[in-house]
């Protein structure tokens, strides 16, 4: 199915309900209503379209709904309403096809930390049907490009810095040749050098792999530099979407700034009404004492 859009989200909604259990042993059974209930609207009627080859930024504070949106696209969450399609395939109805087209890098490099990068990446390669011999060569090539020496590739990941682990996470995603790459705060917590390396690699991936990239970030400068278009997300809603330049020009025009342009942070503050550093309630309250409502 040919489509100019890599990702189409149409009226997506996701609500998490949680509450304290009564303490009775049967209260842990699925379907038993919690004693008290809290409802968090993590995604509230979001619609967006991302063109093939774009780098699309999702900016918002912690708890604004960015990661939930990425999880909906990644098939890790089911939307309560609306639809998510990737190159025309529905993430719920055509989950298997979608899984072959995507990969995700999350803020925490999710690895078997005792295993080496090579062992972790070979595991990923086998899951995605990549030939192991080809994968072995690619792992060394990609990680060398990212500045990781060959001897480190065979040592446990737990001995690597977070920056290096994040590079391995990006290499893992690339190894499976996704046509839609979901980068969920890939540079958060990295040192400036690692951050710059990862950012340059993201640009290179778009150029060389013809991939579409969705990037969530806290870093306005990073989004400004990397993204073709940016969406501001606040409390589960998409509040503004444009190119970085478009967002800044609009602000400058409305504030009579002439040729001068504001920073993206100024635009965000005006549109959203608070800074990126302000956190909102946890999107997915997953305290072990609180069990989500509903039965399987």
């Amino acid at each position: 199915m040919a489509t100019e859009y890599a990702l189409v989200i149409d009226g997506a909604r996701k609500v998490f309900r949680s509450g304290k259990r009564s303490g009775r042993w049967w209260s842990v059974l699925p379907g038993q209503a919690p004693r008290t209930q809290k409802e968090v609207r993590a995604i509230n009627d979001i619609s967006l379209r991302i063109r093939k080859g774009e780098i699309y930024g999702l900016l918002g504070a912690n708890g604004s709904g960015k990661s939930t949106l990425i999880r909906l696209v990644s098939t890790l969450l089911l939307p309560d309403a609306g639809s998510v399609t990737i190159f025309g395939r529905d993430v719920v109805k055509q989950e298997d096809e979608v899984k072959r087209m995507i990969n995700r890098v999350s803020v925490d490099a999710a690895f078997f930390k005792k295993l080496s990068p090579m062992e972790n990446l070979l595991y990923a390669a086998r899951l995605y049907g990549v030939d192991p011999a080809h994968a072995r060569r690619e792992v060394v090539r990609i990680l060398n490009i990212m500045g990781i020496k060959t001897d480190r590739i065979y040592q446990p990941l737990e001995k690597m810095s977070r920056g290096m682990q994040q590079k391995v996470a990006i290499a893992r995603a690339l190894l499976t040749s996704p046509i839609l790459l979901l980068l969920d705060e890939p540079t958060t917590g990295l040192d400036p050098r690692s951050k710059k390396d990862v950012q340059e690699f993201i640009l290179r991936v778009r150029e060389q792999h013809d991939a579409t990239i969705v990037l969530t970030s806290h870093d306005m400068d990073e989004a400004d530099r990397l993204c073709d278009r940016i969406a501001f997300i606040d409390r589960g809603c998409l509040v503004r979407e444009d190119t970085p330049l478009g967002l800044k020009r609009d602000y400058a025009r409305r504030h009579g700034m002439g040729e001068a342009l504001p920073s993206l942070e100024d635009v965000f503050l005006e549109v959203v009404g608070h800074s990126l550093d302000e956190d909102w309630a946890d999107e997915e309250d997953d305290d072990d004492q609180t069990e989500m409502e509903g039965a399987p």
């Binding site: 999880r71 890790l76 969450l77 999710a110 078997f112 990923a124 446990p156 997953d286 072990d288």
Partner: protein, 279 residues
């Protein structure tokens, strides 16, 4: 993609779980030694309790004592095998949550059947090797009389009982998917309950009636009866049929049921956001 190519791809993908678990075992080798020492010491303690029946005024001697030692050895070895198979499969999700890789694995384009088949194959191979090693070590301390054993029957029963424990393991693996921390605790309770009611170290006849009733649904009960019959009395699979068919039925019911429940639980976890927690 043709059905053939898709199936081949899934078979290859299942090897990913075998290789990954093998690598993890290698990297946690010190812990493997610790667990092995614990299992051997536990089995030896049981055998020495049995051996103590050979001293004192009411002592049993000769062949009778040898049969007690053999009875207990089979219990210790079969339980070691079956509980390890159960543990590896039931911890499929717990382990991924602990490592923080659960979302990554469930996002990969492999069917849950492939995932669980790979885990089960590793579980069976690992548990078998471990049990053979324990048998070797126990033989250094006790004379384990296998002269009457029907080894073929024993092997067939081990394979059949593996299926039923794989099914139970898959069903237990659902719990950590639904309940992030309590689920892992529940799998230990199931394993302990099976140990109590299955006649691992004593005939089930000594248990209270209500425990014997629970024991009738434990595949370990039938596995132990059959293997004891094959090893101690040289019985064939045909002779053992009354204890073999329940194993077949339990495996035939629990594996497909476990898969169906697992898929449903995965959907529930995706609907409620349960996959996120990794602690």
């Amino acid at each position: 993609m043709s059905v053939m190519a898709a199936s081949l791809r899934e078979v290859k993908a299942s090897y990913a779980f075998i290789e990954r678990n093998f690598n993890l075992t290698k990297r946690y080798f010190t812990w493997e030694i610790v667990f092995m020492v614990y299992s051997v010491v536990q089995a030896l303690s049981i055998l020495y309790i049995g051996d103590s029946m050979g001293v004192g005024p009411a002592a049993i001697k000769g062949p009778a004592l040898a049969r007690v030692i053999l009875f207990l050895s089979i219990g210790a070895l079969v339980w070691s095998y079956l509980s390890t198979v159960f543990e590896i499969i039931s911890e499929t999700i717990t382990w991924e949550r602990w490592e923080g890789t659960i979302e990554y694995t469930l996002m990969a384009p492999v069917s849950r059947l492939t995932h669980l088949v790979g885990t089960s194959l590793f579980g069976v191979a690992y548990s078998l090797l471990r049990t053979v090693l324990i048998l070797g070590i126990l033989s250094l301390f006790f004379h384990i009389d296998l002269s009457h054993a029907n080894l073929l029957s024993s092997l067939v029963v081990v394979v059949l009982s593996s299926f039923s424990f794989i099914g139970l393991g898959i069903m237990a693996a659902v719990l950590p998917l639904l309940y992030t921390e309590r689920g892992a605790q529940m799998t230990y309770v199931i394993s302990s309950a099976l140990l109590l009611v299955s006649g691992v170290y004593y005939p089930v006849g000594v248990l209270p009636g209500w425990m014997q009733v629970i024991g009738t649904v434990s595949p370990a009960n039938y596995a132990l009866e059959s293997i004891r019959g094959a090893v101690m009395n040289g019985r064939s699979v045909v002779d053992l049929w009354p204890d073999v068919w329940p194993l077949l039925v339990i495996g035939a019911v629990t594996i497909p049921l476990g898969l169906a429940v697992f898929q449903r639980a995965e959907r529930y976890a995706k609907r409620t956001g349960k996959l996120k927690r990794s602690g």
